[in-house]
């Protein structure tokens, strides 16, 4: 029974199948909202209001010609998209989505799983860098270098911002943090700065405008993805989508009190809260122009990092007052 439950957990909900369906839905939501903000219609033909467009794009890419550059290392070049997708899907398993019993730690809910999720969310960046580097193309290499340069900008603020609610909740376990804020929702008011720092850092992690520097099409063509085509590009696109779901799910867990209330109510809360975060991400995307890589690093260290430290300070003071 336990084996079947684990298999369902891995393959169906909240594993591969659910993450695939939900991430394509989120991509549609993002595209549609972004299009409406720009006074366009957005996807309209595939399915009702174009809801199946991301799935159609994925399937179309799967059947497209797949080219590996002559000078590229074939094994690494081909395995990177799969590794990247596997990493973000694994990260998705740690979100406290399935009616988790808070008092009993399990294989996907234990002290320190917040660190594991953050770590797993850092790895795709490395995958993208390697992908750019191994494409043996000027534009890809430049994109890969930009990916790493950006990592030094947003990673520290993201970690500080996400960990400060954990300090107040006095736990390194996502389910417990969510449960804590479920009991004391007013404490979330002290985490507002951290919430916005985390959202902006997530925007940078997902490489969306104003931080779409590594694949700025008018500058370096496709950036890291220049040489990727067919199935591999499809996997990379799916990886970015799932990363968006997991990233917004993580923010929703620590800043918006998680998804308690059983399978169905929990799922509903998950969808509403992640869509709320994604809507903010889309709004930022529509309201900004792309900034330069040097401006991005300066912005991160001049504004984001000090704000994250301020948030940490507030959290420590709040914790002192509570005790």
């Amino acid at each position: 029974m336990a084996v079947i439950k684990a298999l369902i957990y891995l393959l169906v909900y909240p594993g591969i199948l659910f993450l695939f369906v939900y991430s394509t839905f989120c991509e549609w939501f993002d595209r549609k909202l972004y299009a409406r903000l720009q006074n366009r219609i957005g996807p309209a033909y595939t399915g009702r209001s174009g809801i199946l467009q991301p799935v159609a794009d994925f399937l179309k890419l799967m059947f497209k010609e797949d080219i590996v550059p002559e000078n590229a290392d074939r094994t690494i070049f081909s395995s990177l998209p799969v590794i990247g997708l596997a990493i973000v899907l694994t990260a998705g398993l740690y979100l406290p989505l399935w009616n988790i019993n808070v008092s009993v730690p399990s294989f996907n809910s234990f002290q320190g799983d917040i660190i594991v999720v953050l770590y797993l969310l850092s790895l795709p960046t490395l995958v993208l860098f390697l992908a750019g580097w191994h494409s043996t193309n000027f534009f890809s290499t430049l994109g890969g270098v930009r990916v790493l340069t950006m990592l030094f900008g947003y990673e520290v603020p993201l970690f500080l911002a996400v960990l400060s609610p954990a300090i107040v909740a006095d736990s390194w376990r996502l389910a417990e943090i969510a449960d804590f804020y479920q009991k004391f929702p007013f404490l979330l008011l002290f985490q507002i700065i951290g919430f916005f720092v985390a959202v902006v850092a997530l925007q940078a992690k997902l490489e969306r405008t104003p931080f779409d520097i590594p694949h700025a099409e008018t500058e370096i063509v496709g950036g890291t993805f220049t040489e990727y085509s067919g199935k591999k590009l499809a996997f990379f696109r799916l990886m970015t989508d799932v990363e968006m779901v997991v990233g917004s799910g993580l923010i929703a867990t620590v800043f918006l009190a998680g998804f308690s209330g059983g399978v169905f109510l929990g799922l509903l809360k998950f969808i509403l809260k992640t869509l709320f975060v994604i809507a903010i991400l889309s709004l930022i995307k529509a309201a900004c122009s792309r900034i330069r890589i040097d401006q991005m690093v300066i912005f991160s260290w001049k504004y984001l990092a000090p704000l994250a430290v301020l948030q940490l300070l507030i959290s420590i003071i709040v914790k002192g007052v509570i005790q």
Partner: protein
């Protein structure tokens, strides 16, 4: 750090037309830039020599898809000077009206492209949506959205009626409101300003020395506009201001163009309200006595020059076109030095490049000896596209 050369073009997402920028970079900083032309040569000047003056109007219109009216006006003005024709006032005013509407559509288009190059797609979508209004106005006047075909030698081909005038005023009123919004957005939105302020510096002395033209020159603080310096049509009768900026960067070029939009709205309103009565054209002779003429015109991108030489027949002996983009290339090289890779598309887009306007002839350079030869269209055809020998097709005629 190792220097590498990256090819921007001939095919690149930042370029809408083929041109090759060879950029040598060190890290993210551009050390050297080089422009290679000649990917869009169509032999229009040679073709013009085998067509009559009337046919050539429609040929030069096809030099450019955006400033098509600039080329025809520049050309017909030259031909009118050659025959000594006096164009009726109403004809000149309608010509200027289309010219200003074209400037509006070109500048709105440019604003969108510049925003897209900076990754600000929302502004791009908005400006292009509003550009449809002025495109529709041009269609109301001429029946066409791109090649208006309104000019003819000795005047214009279509008259304006009251309904059209009303529609134009309505459209201009809407565009005025929108442009004020874009002025505000383009000069205050922090991420966009961060990208364009201080980028692509072209000092005043350099701009003059490198013969920059149009908004690029005016953004460097030089007040030069053919409409003021050497008024053609009836620009000496129309009150308008010359727009300059002194920041010498891409922000300045945005500001100059947005200010020019507002001036163009004023000009259009003035023209509609003060449209003289009378004929719109006079009859032109078919054959022109031997003479030569240089015609200047302020296109949306800068000074456009046509040189026409007649030889007593109904066809020109020589037509030479110097489009504004060509004049701006040397300045672009100067602007690209020591900028960031991310600024390349913005700086290049800021001259509003129209590559198909600028490509006029092919020069072959021997890579080993360094000597160059200019080929005529007939020679090129003989050398490279000799259809008779390669294909076994016999034409029926």
């Amino acid at each position: 750090m190792k220097k590498i050369t990256i090819p921007i073009g001939p095919q690149h997402p930042a370029l809408k037309e083929p041109i090759s920028l060879r950029i040598t970079i060190e890290g993210e900083v551009v050390k050297h830039a080089d422009v290679r032309l000649g990917y869009n040569h169509r032999g229009i000047e040679k073709l013009a020599e085998s067509r009559t003056y009337i046919q050539n109007i429609y040929l030069v219109e096809r030099i450019c898809g955006i400033c098509s009216h600039s080329h025809t006006t520049c050309y017909v003005q030259g031909v009118e000077k050659l025959c000594g024709l006096e164009v009726p006032k109403r004809g000149l005013y309608i010509r200027m009206l289309v010219c200003e509407l074209e400037r509006i559509h070109s500048h709105l288009l440019w604003l969108g492209v510049a925003a897209h190059e900076a990754g600000f797609d929302s502004l791009f979508m908005y400006t292009w949506r509003d550009r449809e209004v002025v495109m529709d106005l041009l269609e109301i006047i001429s029946g066409n959205r791109v090649h208006y075909a309104i000019n003819t030698i000795g005047g214009v081909r279509r008259n304006l009626n009251e309904i059209q005038k009303e529609k134009i005023l309505e459209g201009i009123k809407f565009l005025k409101k929108r442009t004020e919004y874009y002025t505000n957005l383009g000069t205050t939105e922090p991420t966009f300003v961060a990208r364009i302020a201080g980028v692509g510096i072209l000092p005043k002395e350099k701009a003059i020395a490198l013969c920059a033209v149009g908004p690029t020159l005016r953004a460097s603080g030089v007040s030069s506009d053919i409409r003021k310096d050497d008024p053609y049509a009836a620009y000496d009768e129309i009150p308008f201001d010359l727009c300059t900026a002194d920041t010498c960067d891409v922000l300045g070029r945005v500001v100059v163009r947005v200010k020019e939009l507002i001036e163009s709205y004023k000009i259009v309103e003035y023209i509609i309200k003060n449209l003289p009565q009378g004929e719109i054209k006079v009859k032109a002779p078919r054959k022109i006595q031997p003479a030569e003429v240089v015609s200047r015109y302020e296109a949306p991108r800068g000074e456009n020059i046509h040189y026409i030489k007649s030889n007593g027949t109904d066809k020109p002996e020589r037509l030479k076109v110097r489009a504004p983009t060509l004049a701006n290339y040397p300045a672009t090289i100067e602007m690209l030095k020591n900028c960031f890779v991310a600024d390349i598309p913005l700086i290049f887009a800021a001259i509003d490049p129209c590559i198909c306007c600028a490509e006029r002839f092919v020069e072959l350079i021997d890579a080993k000896k360094g000597n160059s030869t200019v080929l005529s269209m007939a020679e090129i055809r003989k050398k490279y596209y000799s259809t008779e020998t390669k294909r076994n097709v016999v034409w029926p005629l």
